[in-house]
Symmetry: C2
Subunit: 221 residues, 2 copies
């Protein structure tokens, strides 16, 4: 298996609309790098629990962070199985039938167990996470204190058992399915954009907006 | 408990940043109605599995639909426990420290078991789902065929065990925490917008864009 190819296993096999599965690791990385957050699921007392979580990526590992007091983070740190889904909605697909109506999206599902990042690597991982969600911000903010570092848990999940599904094709329409062509069909593209930055109460008037915030605004247009 | 108040149980208690939990059912409904998709989690062979799924709402029930051939839908239909998270990212919170940097979001976590909707109610539920994701579209598309109806599974999950968390406040900043005020702090609002509709290959030139598509474009600005 090439390092650039995602694994073809039963666990990562997309069962529905499998023609949309892609095995390109670059596609996984690009999706994760564009996404700001994902959803992490664990089994708690035999039942599923899923919560939103900010994400980062360090090479072939997904990073998540949270409070050391967080129940779900402590459970994941204990080595229980975790599943993370990261989804970007790219558009709505207006077909001529409700049945063929769908969405354009890119989604990744990552399965595995996490390692707690500690010691010298922890601060670097926090920098990676911060710069993932807010590119360039790490070097603008004040230094993280020892107390803050101790209160934060950073978890790393290998991007080994991962599947990626991309829905980006044309509208499903057929010459002979009896559709009324007078119905407009097509794609409505969707994207996330940033509004105007709003300074905090304690930011002195006239303080220039940080370069990282301006860059984020320009990235999200 | 008022019908407008969400339950205060151990299962729905927000454990982290509990001051952000809201118990207003209207807030839950508004969040679900604005969202186009969520993430559904189940336990499969003892491990968590989470996937993105389009959503709808019928009063006090969350609706999801998928193929009758979908493994996860069949598992949910069998009555196993399900957890659905629906999250909207409203902004990035740029604090003066990485530690206090965060996001504005609204998120709902719904737990329970699902009922399969069949018979006379199924078509109405599909209309609700279609109009949730694409308001007004149901009356524009051709009728759903019996074959399509048979191939679709519609599941209903009661909005009884649900918790809502809203992060919408000011940046966490303190007079005495040693922050350098020269660092800009503030909120970068984010929102989803629609681009220009792109007609499908088989849509005859000059076909007017459907009113529901125009309405969606105007809703997402």
């Amino acid at each position: 298996m090439s390092n650039h190819e995602l694994p073809r296993t039963e666990q990562t096999r997309v069962k529905r609309l499998d023609e949309k599965q892609v095995f390109d690791r670059d596609a996984l990385n690009a999706l994760l790098d564009e996404a700001i957050f994902g959803h992490v699921a664990v089994v708690r007392e035999g039942k599923p629990l899923v919560l939103p979580v900010g994400i980062g990526r360090d090479g072939n590992h997904l990073l998540v962070h949270g409070s050391t007091g967080s129940g779900i983070f402590r459970e994941i740190a204990d080595g229980r199985d975790v599943c993370v889904a990261v989804t970007l909605l790219d558009g709505l697909v207006y077909a001529r039938s409700a049945f063929e109506s769908s969405m354009h999206y890119r989604s990744a599902v990552i399965m595995g167990t996490a390692t707690v990042i500690e010691g010298d690597q922890k601060l670097a991982a926090l920098a990676t996470l911060t710069n993932h969600m807010m590119p360039g911000r790490w070097d603008e903010v004040r230094e993280t204190t020892k107390k803050e570092l101790a209160a934060t848990m950073v978890l790393s999940i290998p991007l080994d058992v991962a599947s990626v599904k991309v829905s980006a094709g044309p509208v499903d329409e057929f010459e002979d399915d009896g559709d009324d062509r007078s119905i407009w069909a097509g794609i409505l593209p969707l994207r996330v954009v940033a509004g105007d930055p709003v300074p905090s109460e304690m930011t002195p008037e006239g303080t220039p907006v940080s370069p990282s915030v301006i860059a984020q605004t320009q990235r999200l247009v």
